[in-house]
Symmetry: C2
Subunit: 279 residues, 2 copies
Amino acid sequence: MEQQDKIILIGAGNVAHHLAGALLKAGENLCQIYSRTLDTARQLGMKTGISYTAELNEIYPDGDIYIFCVSDDVLPSIVKTIRVSENALLLHTSGSQPMDVFKSYSKYYGVIYPIQTFSKKRELDFREIPLCVEGNTVSVKERIKELAERLSDKIYEINSAQRKGLHLAAVFANNFPNYLYQVAGKLLENKGLSFAMLRPLIFETAHKVMLLNPEEAQTGPAKRGDESIMNMHKSMLKGDKDLLKIYTILSEGIKEMQNKEETGEQKLSQDIIDMPTLW
Amino acid sequence: MEQQDKIILIGAGNVAHHLAGALLKAGENLCQIYSRTLDTARQLGMKTGISYTAELNEIYPDGDIYIFCVSDDVLPSIVKTIRVSENALLLHTSGSQPMDVFKSYSKYYGVIYPIQTFSKKRELDFREIPLCVEGNTVSVKERIKELAERLSDKIYEINSAQRKGLHLAAVFANNFPNYLYQVAGKLLENKGLSFAMLRPLIFETAHKVMLLNPEEAQTGPAKRGDESIMNMHKSMLKGDKDLLKIYTILSEGIKEMQNKEETGEQKLSQDIIDMPTLW
């Protein structure tokens, strides 16, 4: 039997937490977990039963694959500091860092970028998470792809420039909507109402675009061009300049998209699936 | 056996479409559907097997309950025009119109406002949709509540001012996130990538706040205060002033929420539920 690659995980945050679980579930040979913070390292180490350290010079130098799940600002300095064998494969999981961050440190390197939002508290099916892979040579990419395929069913090959754009898009699709949920919760609180009232709406808003395109799914006053409702909403937000600005600029955006659609400027994408009718 | 109320549905748009289905499923006595547009009236009439009309003067004057599912700008004029018996109960389903729009036209009136986004193409379980009820007297409210309870399991009693705030919050929780999905899709298209890549992320973003609060669910560069990533994103958006503005103001909003939380200013709501751990 072929010997399994020794995998070292650098980082013990949200991504590392989920990736460690996925690696173990896939039967990979995860050997060690490093985190700058001993507590965090210990937490994930204890949970997985994998040995852990908070000392850079204790990281095993004979690993076959090092996966860096650390924040973008510390990645370069950690890569520079740790000692690895010259044949080690170096990977990171960042949406924004170019693959070439590893260039001076190994012959074999690449990226596995998961398009997902991770929190330690939240369980996820890793096989459903899209993984974007990139490698510095064709054969390295194949090797990374094989690893990725043991973890997930959704593998995309993209380059560093595409990944950067994807990461930006992910901010618009995840961080910003989540912030708007927070704003909505605040508006409800002001009226003595509970965030729970909006949960079915939020759920459906996301579910709708699992099959429809967002342009088809859009409803509401800006889409209908209902100026009197929009003016009423703006006057309700008079006391909060920032929210008023957000309301105005996003409503304008919706109106513009709508106009483009009506004039046929905005082409609809091809993956529209006709939904079954109601009864 | 008590005779069932004769229900007339005024409107045949997205809301009427779903409400008609829910009424029939609940065994209610839906008698007639009106729409200004004959095609739309016919469509819903044929689908439900209920008689339909596009003529205001053909609306049955002997209905017990008239439910107005029309856009806010035409509601007052339709209410003014149609003839109904003096004991009829008049209801609308609008998030923004005050209940008193009916005041001069009946002794019995109120509101059933569904907190949901409706599209004809999209099937929904109406029993899961929160319905906000309001009535001009206690007994009228009870009567509306009983009807609402035959349609849904989630009934809230709120007043017109609360409903207005709720509707504004719904715009932030639904229309705006959906618009941001559209923007994300556009950003991907620019890189030759497909919107489908973001679907699991969008799905998880919504699912996360079904149990967590949005402040707990937040991730990303603004939350981490990662200025170098944010600056990179802003430079990527240089060519599109509107998107740059949206990126900047929403990132600022996230940073502010984060600061408030760290200084303890922002109190966390009580309905945090601890999620099961990963393994």
